[in-house]
């Protein structure tokens, strides 16, 4: 009798675990589809912004916005970064060899171009229009690769669901522009992102939170929003370097 009770208990527990796993997979909100940048006068995703650490500096240069030369959005740069910006030659950006030098995930997510998202239970793929870039986010519980692994523009991303929010942790990001005004991040950049879809499924919000102790103090953050447009597709970018001088 005692054995039968224990077996029943184990079966109930196993069932509950299976149900929880299935529910977790089924309950994950859908990010699938074509998303176009939403140009907002008032930030509709304020609740997600409110969840950022209070000390994070929110950089206001997303979508069509840009910071001017010498404006770092309130971030305190490290001496080495100040020196790097001082030596930066903006004319180099117009050279043919730099024309198609794509930015990293620290900057390409905020560009005013659409994206397509393909969502599975173990990975999510972002097909960005900007520079034809692609991101893969692993949801299968794998860790980041060793420190010595190659760094890339998209970096290495692992994610998990916290309720209705997809939390993504990205490392191994190759150095690139951080503010499009000569201020670059290093290869030590660590990125934490939170994606959330509105209840009606029409808006996708994102906050990016960065720390890069080699180039700035504390934490920085950005906020972005997109509108769902079913039936549309990203266009090829096919960057042509001949535009450059």
């Amino acid at each position: 009798m005692r054995i039968r009770t224990r077996s029943f208990g184990v079966a109930v527990l196993a069932g509950a675990v299976l149900a929880a796993v299935s529910w977790g997979a089924l309950a994950a909100p859908s990010l699938e589809g074509f998303w176009a940048v939403k140009f907002e006068q008032k930030r509709s995703g304020q609740p997600l912004i409110d969840e950022l650490p209070k000390a994070a500096v929110l950089i206001n240069d997303t979508g069509a916005g840009e910071l001017a030369a010498g404006d770092f959005g309130g971030l305190k740069l490290k001496p080495a970064a100040i020196e790097q910006v001082r030596n930066y030659n903006y004319k180099d950006e117009l050279k043919r060899e730099n024309t198609c030098n794509a930015p990293s995930v620290a900057f390409f997510m905020q560009a005013p171009f659409p994206m397509e998202i393909y969502q599975g239970t173990e990975l999510i793929v972002f097909k960005m229009e900007y520079f034809d870039l692609v991101r893969v986010i692993f949801l299968d519980g794998r860790p980041h690769p060793p420190k010595s692994a190659p760094h890339t523009r998209a970096g290495h991303s692992v994610g998990h669901w916290e309720g209705d929010t997809l939390v993504v942790d990205t490392t191994h990001i190759s150095p690139g522009t951080f503010m499009n005004n000569g201020f670059n991040h290093s290869d030590a950049l660590h990125l934490v992102e939170r994606f959330r879809v509105s209840k009606d499924g029409k808006t996708l919000w994102l906050t990016q939170q960065y720390d890069d102790p080699e180039v700035f103090d504390g934490l920085a953050a950005r906020y972005m929003a997109w509108t769902h447009r079913p039936g549309e597709f990203v266009y090829p970018y096919d960057c042509d370097p001949s535009y450059g001088n």
Partner: protein
Amino acid sequence: MGNRRIRRLARGAAIVWVSLAALLAVGTAAAHHSFAVHFVGDKLIKVSGVVDEFSFHNPHGLLVLTTKKDGAEQVWRIETNSPNILRRRGWDETSIKHGDQVTVEGYPARDGSNSMRVYRVIYPDGHELVGQRPDPGVVSGAD
């Protein structure tokens, strides 16, 4: 020289090397160019002339225009915002043709050269192609 001093010097050299390496790592990166750094966003200018060349490839389309000022010819290099963005507004590779007589309104280059980012291309019959719209809060008279 004592062992402690040698260790201190070695540690100092290592710190300098690591800082220099970090600086070099971030200093070599270059980016797709910024609008705000290269163009004046709160000012619009107009030039009229004949189209010599029009290319429509990312990251920027390019319009080369020959104008006349005080009888002398000037060549203007005028870039558009991304053709992908413009394609969704109805532009394509054939929107502007060699020999077209046009007036271009746009944002002047900060370095004072004969170049600008296009706001709109206006044809003699009044129809126009809109590129990068002015920020209504910044440029007076913006649409």
